[in-house]
Symmetry: C2
Subunit: 425 residues, 2 copies
């Protein structure tokens, strides 16, 4: 029976049952963290040998004859460009190999646009206000970057094929101060939605009023599949090139969740025109990124296929964890009609939508019983979920036993909060 | 006989002699690069074993219990703070461990001051113009950073005890738009001058009109000695604390010339108040820097003394190169009175001052005969040496034989350019 169909008495009994279960859980004194998309120890162990692959003094000379251990090669070693260009779907002259953080390269790109402008256009700091479109729910760290630079953020609803393209097309074509959009196109954070071919084509064909409008295409989970026959999204740069619109997109990726968070390699792809201009700015701020870590990745993976097979090992660890979460939701929540979710085919999250007005309460209940979730609201600009319903579940870090325990608690909290809410109406 | 004492005929004969030697050299088809302060291959080989020291899976847990391979620890692992705090003379709560580039951390600090201000003061972007003081000759990449943000640069002459402090004290106390100064206090780039105790004390005691004035204290060569009994400069943060003025300085350092350029670790030290504020900004732009590379440094060096003894190996390689340059200048140029220089006790450069108006010509002559030097003017803001006389010699990268060859050419070019100049007067 769905909760909304219950009468007050039934609801009250249901709530008392949930409360009793919750109190029992609280007594267990759990201490689990499901707040961030962190790889687990088993995943970190997968890349252990990469740390030990620079053991030959002859190894340090790149294909261009330069020594990776010395200054130079601002945009990365040639071998790293070869390795990573197919990962983000660009040519080797359309890529910059950055340091250890794609977030940092996104921050830097926004910062240069803010202080110096894009391809000769007016710097964003010189506007009274500029705006970014933010498909929601989305990634909190994206939103923090634009908030930091005082950029106004506009929520764009997600559909199962990607963000609402009608709304996006309308906004970018009408308003010259709309300068960008944050996208996680494959296995979106947190919904796990992959943009449909039509969505990618419509993005590639956007005709913004602002010449310096850019799609910030954070393809963080481009090869982070949870199924055996993954479907890749369309290549947005290829699509944009077909339309002569190739300057519209900045593509980002990293190996943070392939090798090591914090000790991986971040990359950015874009039209040659964009890349050449950004490299001029980049050369002011740094001489080169860590080319020895680039070389480690090259030696360890060999080529892009090496990365793909490495990802199968991640999948083997992660797929059962996602299954455990989905099973629990299917079994305990679905029949009650008090939440919705989609089983993702990849990525790092499961996006749970509660009844409106319950997310904060669920997160609070979990916390008080020892399970830390991503803060309710974090998936929206300014931390404000207008419906207070979205909760990002991050199943990767805990062990499967911890995860099952945490999910047992989670569903109890959903039940309790939902009953409280319905009783108060 | 000094060149200025020669009559026209003597000068002309001298010039013809130099020209003949130059033509012979040109015929050799040399191809040498002395343009940048790059370590040589032998130096890079010194730290080879650091690349192979993460070979135990138990090694990755820090003293705080966290796994270095995962997200977190924005400001660095505790062990790296312990290792590097003594290098730049701060406490472990007064340090941020950055990525691979101190230039990048300096750029970032200037950028945050520009976009968001320092400790609540008005962002520099909101002034019509702000100014930086630039001791000259200085480091070209410092000047490029401030130029990038449209900051007006004012030349401050160097003396043998450091920059002209009378001029600095006057400017900072009178003008609220003077916001910073670039300093390389130990073995300055390029002069190799170490600031005297009095100079450091006067810096520590500056009373700027601008609350957000900062000394950018780039201690790049803090342990890069060329002598057996090095004299360290005074600790500026300690001196500033004595005067309750500890917010005035940002200190930078890195292992770029200790382990690997581009694969080292950069650090920044400052008062806890400055550091805490900067960390809030930093957390927007990155989750953490490469903690595995921090751990490599910790495991390889053990402690700060380990770094100091490692520097002795660098000294053994570099001291003979510096000696070779100085010997050649002493022998070939000193008697002619057509140049001046100081033998540095550390650092990466020898600063050569020609007769006024000759530097560009000397660099051009060298280039045409196959030896690339740092561009004349590069050691001044906007690339403009008002006297056209300073040339930065970088003796570290070539082999000693190449270096001797290059210096043979260099002194010929100095002679030729000087004679040309005097004949034209």
């Amino acid at each position: 029976m769905e909760l909304v169909q219950m009468n007050k008495q039934q609801l009250s009994a249901f709530k008392d049952g949930a409360q009793a279960q919750y109190d029992d859980f609280k007594a267990l004194g759990l201490k689990l963290d499901m707040s961030r998309g962190k790889p687990c120890t088993e995943q970190l162990d997968l890349s252990f040998e990469m740390l030990d692959c620079l053991n030959d003094k002859e190894d340090f000379i790149c294909s261009n004859g330069l020594d990776c251990r010395n200054y130079g090669m601002l945009d990365g070693i040639p071998e790293a460009k070869e390795l990573f260009a197919p990962m983000i779907g660009v040519n080797t002259d359309e890529i910059i190999i950055f340091g250890n953080s794609s977030l940092n390269s996104m921050f830097w790109t926004v910062q240069t646009a803010y202080t110096h402008g894009i391809l000769g256009e007016k710097p964003w700091k010189d506007y009274d206000s500029v705006k970014f479109l933010c498909p929601v729910p989305g990634y909190d760290r994206h939103f923090k970057v634009t908030e930091f630079f005082g950029i106004e953020m506009i929520n764009i609803p997600m559909t199962e094929s990607g963000p609402d393209m009608d709304m996006i097309e309308k906004l970018v074509s009408e308003d010259e101060t709309v300068k960008g959009i944050w996208c996680v196109p494959q296995y979106s954070n947190p919904d796990g939605i992959s943009y449909s071919d039509e969505t990618v084509k419509r993005f590639a064909g956007l005709k913004p009023k602002a010449k310096d409008f850019r799609i910030f295409w954070d393809n963080a989970y481009c090869i982070h599949h949870l199924t055996d026959n993954p479907k890749y999204i369309l290549n947005i740069l290829d699509e944009a090139k077909k339309l002569g619109n190739e300057d519209i997109v900045y593509i980002y990726g990293s190996t943070s969740k392939i090798t090591f968070p914090g000790a991986g390699v971040a990359v950015m792809g874009a039209s040659k025109r964009n890349i050449d201009s950004l490299k001029e700015f980049l050369g002011i701020s740094i001489i080169s990124y860590d080319k020895l870590n680039q070389l480690r990745h090259v030696k360890y993976f060999g080529d892009f296929n090496g990365m793909l097979s490495h990802m199968n090992s991640h999948k083997a660890i992660l797929a059962p964890k996602f299954d455990a979460v989905i099973e629990m939701l299917d079994k305990e929540i679905a029949p009650l009609g008090i939440g919705s979710w989609v089983k993702p085919d990849g990525g790092y999250f499961i996006s749970f939508n509660s009844l409106n007005g319950c997310a904060k309460r669920i997160v609070q209940l979990c916390k008080e019983a020892g399970v830390v979730l991503t803060g309710a609201g974090a998936t929206f600009p300014y931390g404000k979920d207008p419906d207070d319903r979205n909760i990002r579940l991050a199943p990767t870090y805990p062990t499967i036993d911890e995860l099952k325990k945490a999910m047992e608690l989670f569903v109890i909290c959903v039940k309790l909060a939902s009953a409280e809410k319905l009783l108060a109406e």
